[in-house]
Symmetry: D3
Subunit: 263 residues, 6 copies
Amino acid sequence: MTYKLAELSGPAVAQNLTDTSIVVIPTGAIEHHGAHLPLITDALIASSVAEEAVVEGRSQGLDLWLLPTLTYTKSDEHAWAPGTMWLSAETLWSTLIDLGRSIATTPARKVVFVNGHGGNTALLGVANRELRRQFGLATFSMPAGLAQAAPEELGFGIHAGYAETSVVAHLRPDLVSMDLAERNVPEPMADLKYIGFNGYPVSFGWTSDDFGPSGVIGDPTGATPEAGKSLFTESVHRAVAALTEISAFTTRRADPPASEAGS
Amino acid sequence: MTYKLAELSGPAVAQNLTDTSIVVIPTGAIEHHGAHLPLITDALIASSVAEEAVVEGRSQGLDLWLLPTLTYTKSDEHAWAPGTMWLSAETLWSTLIDLGRSIATTPARKVVFVNGHGGNTALLGVANRELRRQFGLATFSMPAGLAQAAPEELGFGIHAGYAETSVVAHLRPDLVSMDLAERNVPEPMADLKYIGFNGYPVSFGWTSDDFGPSGVIGDPTGATPEAGKSLFTESVHRAVAALTEISAFTTRRADPPASEAGS
Amino acid sequence: MTYKLAELSGPAVAQNLTDTSIVVIPTGAIEHHGAHLPLITDALIASSVAEEAVVEGRSQGLDLWLLPTLTYTKSDEHAWAPGTMWLSAETLWSTLIDLGRSIATTPARKVVFVNGHGGNTALLGVANRELRRQFGLATFSMPAGLAQAAPEELGFGIHAGYAETSVVAHLRPDLVSMDLAERNVPEPMADLKYIGFNGYPVSFGWTSDDFGPSGVIGDPTGATPEAGKSLFTESVHRAVAALTEISAFTTRRADPPASEAGS
Amino acid sequence: MTYKLAELSGPAVAQNLTDTSIVVIPTGAIEHHGAHLPLITDALIASSVAEEAVVEGRSQGLDLWLLPTLTYTKSDEHAWAPGTMWLSAETLWSTLIDLGRSIATTPARKVVFVNGHGGNTALLGVANRELRRQFGLATFSMPAGLAQAAPEELGFGIHAGYAETSVVAHLRPDLVSMDLAERNVPEPMADLKYIGFNGYPVSFGWTSDDFGPSGVIGDPTGATPEAGKSLFTESVHRAVAALTEISAFTTRRADPPASEAGS
Amino acid sequence: MTYKLAELSGPAVAQNLTDTSIVVIPTGAIEHHGAHLPLITDALIASSVAEEAVVEGRSQGLDLWLLPTLTYTKSDEHAWAPGTMWLSAETLWSTLIDLGRSIATTPARKVVFVNGHGGNTALLGVANRELRRQFGLATFSMPAGLAQAAPEELGFGIHAGYAETSVVAHLRPDLVSMDLAERNVPEPMADLKYIGFNGYPVSFGWTSDDFGPSGVIGDPTGATPEAGKSLFTESVHRAVAALTEISAFTTRRADPPASEAGS
Amino acid sequence: MTYKLAELSGPAVAQNLTDTSIVVIPTGAIEHHGAHLPLITDALIASSVAEEAVVEGRSQGLDLWLLPTLTYTKSDEHAWAPGTMWLSAETLWSTLIDLGRSIATTPARKVVFVNGHGGNTALLGVANRELRRQFGLATFSMPAGLAQAAPEELGFGIHAGYAETSVVAHLRPDLVSMDLAERNVPEPMADLKYIGFNGYPVSFGWTSDDFGPSGVIGDPTGATPEAGKSLFTESVHRAVAALTEISAFTTRRADPPASEAGS
């Protein structure tokens, strides 16, 4: 049987899903990723990791169901760059609420967003809680890719840098123009102790042109398909491990059955 | 060069698109299509027709660029059926506005929605005007599939009937369960002169369970892959012809260049 | 007894309406109609046709109740022209939802929008479904006027052309300045096979200044009060016939009684 | 020439209105007014007073233009009563913003809401400021009717009481059922010093069923057409006097010309 | 025990509040108040009056609970002046709804807004009704300060004038710069019979720069701490008297218990 | 001179702030914190840390200005508990946008949210970017308190646990009921490798009743005022250090001057 939820019929959803089922939704982006990577980068990575993880997880007995990727998401930090196709925070929020409402009518009680675009992370976090409160779903989100960076990136390989470029070079080498890859690292930030992109105590509001016109934050110049293959494989393994943990996860408050959920 | 806009880089969008470029966006749905068809039916048909039409149109010299399918759309008429993943009218509206705003920052001035789900048609019509007024884009929408019906459908083969079932049987035979196909035609409506689904003077508000629990409106029982192939081919031809006309279309009011567009 | 719902008292609404009652709401517009017609044109035609049809329909035994005209509606295609008083799509949408919610608390289960402004048609279609889904009402919309056109209009007499001008010349001759009437027909569109205003496969987004500064789309120069009288009479007859059909219309899903309706 | 703005053509609006022009919009309601008065009461009174005042004011040289009545407004305090057709606060707010935006594109710089429904008063006050800030319009609102009450009303003749009943008995005697008129006065409130309907320091939130099931707040039993005629005449005189003052009103900040207004 | 609701624990709220409890919320503003008064003026006065009144009222046996001040509110009339920190009408509206929803889950059934900013008055009035209708709360709003004016103000001491300046000079003399106080009275308005700020039949839309650049409407030059002390004391007395009346206030419709309230 | 921005007059804001000024806004919450802590806990900690940090930072030459605390924020995870006064995500979002718009009209170009409530963190992150994109402000957010936990908390002292209880015991010992403090640690989560509250790859949606009825997540039983004093002091030091870094922070894209900012 297919692992793609949308390839089932409506009645088959009602019959085949149960309260152990986990719905997996990749969330990507269509946004500026420098001159060397395609706009589709984040959607490509999220879709590929999620699909592989669902296939592998099912082979290990997890009750996983893949939904189509949310391709267009909140790329407001790249709104200045032609080609970026972005939803406002309000629109992505409404989309996530609507999906949660819809999923809550199936027997499944768990939803996981496998997210390929950092600009969605915070809003997904807010939505996770809203979907739990409004619809009683158990909700989760996780990054599709790994944050691993090249040393030249000084920890700032967050967008179109070594890791993303390598993974795309592995998945779709035809879409990468390494001759156009250029390093763009906000070096002065390396000296900062409080302000940073992730894991720092101070979060800051930025758009990608804050760091120059290239649309890159990181150093893609050393990226290779081999590194990409390795990163991709690790990402999938991590995702499967996380889905395994999600499958067993429960809290003291029982999730309501589908018949009582909904708004 | 790729015909998929999102496979370009941001700078490549700025370089390769011009004011003759036409952006094509398939709009599908994930919704109940009876027991014999997959939820993905409308998205599948819209994506397939649009992609074929873009490829064929480009081979004829049209400057066409395909964007990823809007998979989740306004399936409120099937909201009652588990498996339907639907956006509210407000959410789809916001999504369309956001996409228009984004496209208006590229050199392209024309957008075409190739729509696989009848429940989107009216809202796409409203959005066409809004995107023109707000962003100066020339906007168009058209059905992906053909309305051709089997005689047994009495003109009501609008959802999961002969045409859709045949086309899916052609495109993805593995997703069709002909043994579960059953005829569900609102026969009393055949006598009506004013009220009807399309092309009648009186439009009416319906949800698919108004016509029984099957989620079908039409008669899929006679559907064949051969008929599907023929319908699909015709749909693509019509789409290419329409895109050719769209390419030459202009009005007295000049479309503003990208630099002046936007809100 | 009055046929105007709002001339009843509240308790009289509860006593006199039943589940066979049909609430009729004319929807007009206050918008630019060229130099020869008043802004009120669409509201005038919708109000007049709807009122006549309600009177005539009641004389034939239909249980019809007229509500006041929604005078201000979605005239965004004429927003550029001073004098146009327009609601955004969002505002008209909210208004229709609010009216549906209100009507659902009366015993009546059917609502018909008799629409004088083409710019409302698509949004009324979307709202018909929303009111059915949210409130269980049976909802309908129909054009107030006839689309009949003069040959010189090449099928494009959609705004301030022969038909509308004739009908206003019949209803309110004092408001028509035939000396200012001028033909404005988008002739190049006559050769198009796919793109068109109504009944064509490709819908397009337009504002009325796309076709020049006159605010007319059609040819009003041959309009006469006699033609208007005939068109008006036919429109009323068609509306009565449609209301008769609506009165008998039912689907398999029973409409819920008022006590269970509402959000 | 007509005094009804919507009876002008678009070009005639641009030619005939100037920055001395005042646009007058009656705001009514369709809401429960007890068993003896029609739902249309407030819309009837607002429309009648505004129209008479415009006619009389123009005869005295004021540059007044009447727009069609906003018939459906914010009757949330009567939402419990079938027959009440009410807009939410949000919807009326959006409607007022949209109208302000539209009027700001005409040469007129002043707008007056002549309001027949107390439930709109506060929101109109909020909107007056918003329209001034957003569009630079000079905005005003005033009650259509007089607050004059019968002694038996203890000052509480605010809804369907002596004054409103008398005026409707004057304007449309066919719509009044005096045999169903009954006194419903919240007598305990007469002893209150701080809490009250209007002019008291403490405003309170009420719905009309807080005062019993009749939907009346006041004492209509002594109403007469003669009193109504007198009240109506006085209302019109007051409205004309107020419009005269509005016509001369200015502040230190110059109103921007139409070409600079708008958002 | 504390009189500050937020100093209780959650369980203590459930134990200590009953259906006789009254929740008091001061509503202030951070907005331009001329060169002589601080932005915090309205929030300061509202907080001080409300707190004193709660303390005094409790000493007289009233079951009063103070919530933290809504400091940022709808100061759109001063949006032009740097330093004004204002919420839009929509945002304040949503905030009030959210607070009402929250309060409705406690045992308390009455809420009083003690308002220090005139620009909130109308919207609070609209919200009072909405909270009553949606959540069944008994809702009240009242001005924190007294409208008493100096004769030189001609009745226009509504913003940063004699009364407000005196009260701040009493409460926080360090924040008043009497050397910068200047009279700014819209003298021409003194002759008007219909148009005025409060208690006049015609309400008008104004922003504070309509009356010149000073941001003052009134005459603060004669303000003294002594007058402020007296005004403050009177304000508190009036508030306590009003709260006493509110405590005894009831309507025929019983307020629903907490368990049934909420949306 | 005061360090409280709202104690300045409007003109003083324009004179005393410059593009080096940093506006500091504490964000708290009024929400269930177990039986032993007051609802005001988060607002108290955020206000206290922010105020101390502003005072200390100014003494070190930083150009800091404190605005009043946003007391009511997004406590949806405690919405089930009476006493929680929460804004929806949409309302807090609108509030943050409105504040950003207001601040952008002052000379200051930097804004820092010092946040006492974890439930706001993600939305503040989303808003930081929105305020930068829309208004050109440099925006920052940071936790007010330290995450330091007691060993018994197994890393889960995130709400009303050791750290928060200690700090409140230091700041307001009168508001802490140590006899009601009880440990509530989601022990099974300690074994999880992927799913966790902070710093884990998988984020999950939870409401506080998921972990039992106590409203505590952590172990407050060992909390002491001394530990609270130490934690508080460290928090202030960290905040000052972070503000120092923020003061020097810049990106390649220059922040626009106030005159060009705003929407």
